[in-house]
């Protein structure tokens, strides 16, 4: 075992990369849940985004188009969920599970011809001057653009939820859909839009895994990242900045265990590999003792009578 082979600067830098997919998926799900909808299909939307992004990037040679396709793919898939829960009034838990199972199958089917293919690489965004700062430069300012896009989406989501009328209406719908309806807000329309935003974000997160993090396509490659994203939202008590904290925590655990594996530590690989999942459970337990901030209408279906 050689722990000195772990470079702390590289570790922190790769932490930001490792955190980005779950950050993207979690921020999308946060918006969905703040609107009062529980979409357990994050994993399915992520994996669909992963293959959509991968396929389009390979076919066009453009990672940017790939990411756009991933967002569209995730959003389109989420529309199925929206259709089931908002119009057919199906149980949200069951529909979310269906979405995940469906997405896993769909992605495997779409991805048949892409196993072993190498995607076009996404250029690093070396921010001039800033990336030359010692220590902080490589950690914070020497990444691919998606890392910053994710942070941008997070900041925008926070600002919109907190300061804008749109955010206020969204929160109101998630808090009490009957009252929002009585005031004349279009509950279903708002929720469908939120669900699609969640789908697009999950799609981006998935494409980040297949195009940048790994980068290649294998079936089921998101390996539970979507579920961890769901846990993150609970962990964050439905607050955007806490999602970032949580994403870095999980990113850190993932990166650390990978580094420990590489350093040949005496713990078997399998036990290191399960650590992010166990940490997730531990954190969920800690957070569930003082749970607050959950939108009051979360998971309940709305049907305007009369």
């Amino acid at each position: 075992m050689d722990l000195s082979s772990i470079n702390p600067i590289l570790l922190l830098a790769s932490l930001m990369v490792a955190a980005t997919p779950i950050l993207l998926a979690a921020i999308g799900e946060l918006v969905v849940e703040r609107a009062g909808v529980l979409n357990l299909g994050v994993e399915g939307m992520m994996i669909t985004g992963a293959i959509c992004g991968f396929a389009i990037a390979v076919e066009t040679g453009s990672p940017v188009l790939g990411f756009i396709a991933a967002a569209v793919g995730g959003a389109v898939l989420s529309l199925l969920f929206a259709l089931l829960t908002q119009f057919a009034l199906a149980n949200q838990v069951a529909s979310g599970l269906a979405l995940t199972l469906f997405g896993l199958g769909l992605s495997a089917l779409l991805g048949q011809g892409y196993v072993g293919v190498k995607p076009p690489s996404t250029p690093q965004l070396d921010i001039p001057l800033l990336s030359d700062i010692p220590v902080l430069g490589p950690i914070l300012f020497n990444h691919d653009p998606m890392v910053y896009v994710a942070l941008g989406i997070l900041a925008a989501t926070w600002a919109v939820l907190k300061y804008s009328r749109m955010g206020l209406v969204l929160r109101a719908v998630g808090e009490n859909h009957e009252a929002a309806h009585a005031l004349g807000y279009k509950v279903v329309r708002i929720r469908v839009l939120a669900i699609m935003f969640g789908g697009a974000c999950a799609g981006l997160g998935g494409a980040y895994v297949s195009l940048i993090r790994v980068p290649q396509w294998t079936e089921g490659m998101t390996a539970g990242a979507g579920w961890i994203a769901l846990a993150l939202v609970v962990f964050a008590s439905w607050k955007p900045w806490r999602v970032l904290m949580g994403a870095y925590l999980f990113g850190g655990v993932t990166v650390l265990q990978l580094n420990l594996q590489a350093a040949g530590i005496a713990i078997p690989v399998e036990y290191l590999s399960m650590s992010p999942y166990i940490i997730t459970i531990v954190v969920l337990v800690i957070m569930s003792t003082h749970r607050s901030g959950a939108p009051a209408s979360l998971g309940k279906n709305f049907h305007a009578s009369g």
């Binding site: 357990l40 199925l80 259709l83 089931l84 057919a88 009034l89 199906a90 149980n91 838990v93 069951a94 529909s95 599970l97 269906a98 199972l101 469906f102 997405g103 896993l104 199958g105 769909l106 992605s107 495997a108 089917l109 991805g111 048949q112 079936e219 390996a223 539970g224 579920w227 961890i228 769901l230 846990a231 609970v234 078997p268 399998e270 036990y271 590999s273 399960m274 999942y277 166990i278 997730t280 459970i281 969920l284 337990v285 569930s288 003792t289 749970r291 049907h303 009578s305």
Partner: protein
């Protein structure tokens, strides 16, 4: 535009009709999908649904129906109890793996001794393994209110890693020339879950599945505990008012579904699969979720749905080898089935009316 109108009570007719309707819709859209993939749609559907039962090689495929259906039914029966009460165990795949590890581990501990009591011990160990694994989310939910959906799911990934660790380490076959995987239990008479009637596919796991169906039927319809489960699912506050203890119910539902999933894993590893290996689990735990819903969480429905889903597995394999239909297409097909089922379920609780048709005769 259409308009939804809530029915005064759930329609009995549609409760029965929606699953076949969903299957039909899935066949149509699945056929279209296969058509898009360049396969003749009708032939693909016939290959999946007809050939395993009545095709040329049906004598080979028919027993597979029970082999594949057994674990699906066993797991789905367990899941349905929780689902009915709004307790969402979606980590049956993990409990299935743990049941297999515990069951196989118990059996292999006796190797090479032969004794009649080894198999029963394995059965008990398998049930305990699954129950313990499901007990974790149950305990955490009761004690801390932790979401059981996420915990049970996370534990699937943990179980998969444990499975890898077992087949590479503790349970690895010492005479296996370094290959991963345990000894083959099919070659260990006392531990082998053999076919009971040759050529039928019937093994102890299938028997257990049938017993589970009967017990669950009695439980849900004739017993206070089953009534409490249904009541909790329909109206949790009313259940509490009626005297149901939510904590006990969570422990019972998760524990039972874990035990049944563990049993399924144990019977599988001791029978059709034969050994603990890295790729031992094939997603029965997840497919069982579809089976549970497709069977409308009703024991008899689950029995039929499990057989139907087994059929798509077998038919899918045939389509794979005969038509070159990708394995993923079947997975998608199964996901689609659940989608359609949830969608047409609307008809059970709502009437669809044309909004433009104004009621006349109101002065």
């Amino acid at each position: 535009m259409f308009k939804l109108e809530k029915r005064p009570q759930p329609s009995k007719m549609w409760t029965l009709l929606t699953p076949p309707l969903a299957v039909l819709a899935t066949m149509i859209f699945g056929g279209l999908l296969f058509g898009l993939l360049g396969n003749p749609p009708v032939e693909a559907i016939r290959t999946i649904f007809w050939d395993p039962l009545f095709g040329e090689f049906a004598f080979y495929y028919r027993p597979q129906l029970l082999v594949k259906g057994g674990p699906l039914i066993l797991i789905a029966i367990g899941l349905s109890l929780g689902f009915r009460a709004g307790i969402w165990n979606i980590g049956a795949e993990g409990q299935y793996i743990m049941g297999a590890i515990f069951g196989a581990g118990a059996g292999l501990a006796f190797y090479p001794m032969e004794a009649f009591y080894i198999f029963p011990i394995m059965v008990i160990a398998g049930a305990i393994g699954g129950m313990l694994w499901a007990g974790i989310p149950a305990f955490l939910k009761v004690k801390f209110g932790t979401n059981e959906i996420l915990v049970s799911l996370m534990l699937v990934y943990v179980a998969e890693q444990l499975l890898a660790s077992m087949s590479l380490g503790l349970l690895k076959n010492p005479d296996g020339f370094g290959f991963p995987g345990s000894r083959n239990l099919q070659q260990y008479a006392s531990a082998h879950n053999a076919e009971l009637i040759t050529g039928t596919g019937m093994h102890w796991g299938v028997v257990a599945a049938f017993i589970a169906v009967i017990f669950s039927y009695i439980l849900l319809n004739r017993h206070m505990l089953g009534f409490s489960i249904r009541l909790t699912g329909e109206a949790p506050r009313a259940a509490k008012f009626s005297g149901v203890s939510p904590a006990r119910l969570i422990l019972f539902c998760l524990g039972t579904s874990g035990a049944l999933a563990g049993l399924a894993g144990m019977f599988e590893v001791a029978g059709p699969a034969g050994q603990i290996s890295i790729d031992f689990n094939t997603g029965y735990g997840f497919t069982a979720i579809i089976v549970a819903f497709l069977g409308r969480l009703h024991p008899v429905g689950i029995l039929l749905a499990g057989l139907l889903m087994a059929l798509t597995y077998i038919g899918g394999e045939i389509a794979q080898s005969n038509l070159g239909l990708p394995a993923a297409a079947i997975q998608l097909f199964q996901g689609m089935l659940l989608f359609f089922l949830l969608a047409v379920d609307l008809l059970t609780n709502f009437r669809i009316r044309l909004a433009s048709s104004r009621r006349k005769g109101v002065a």
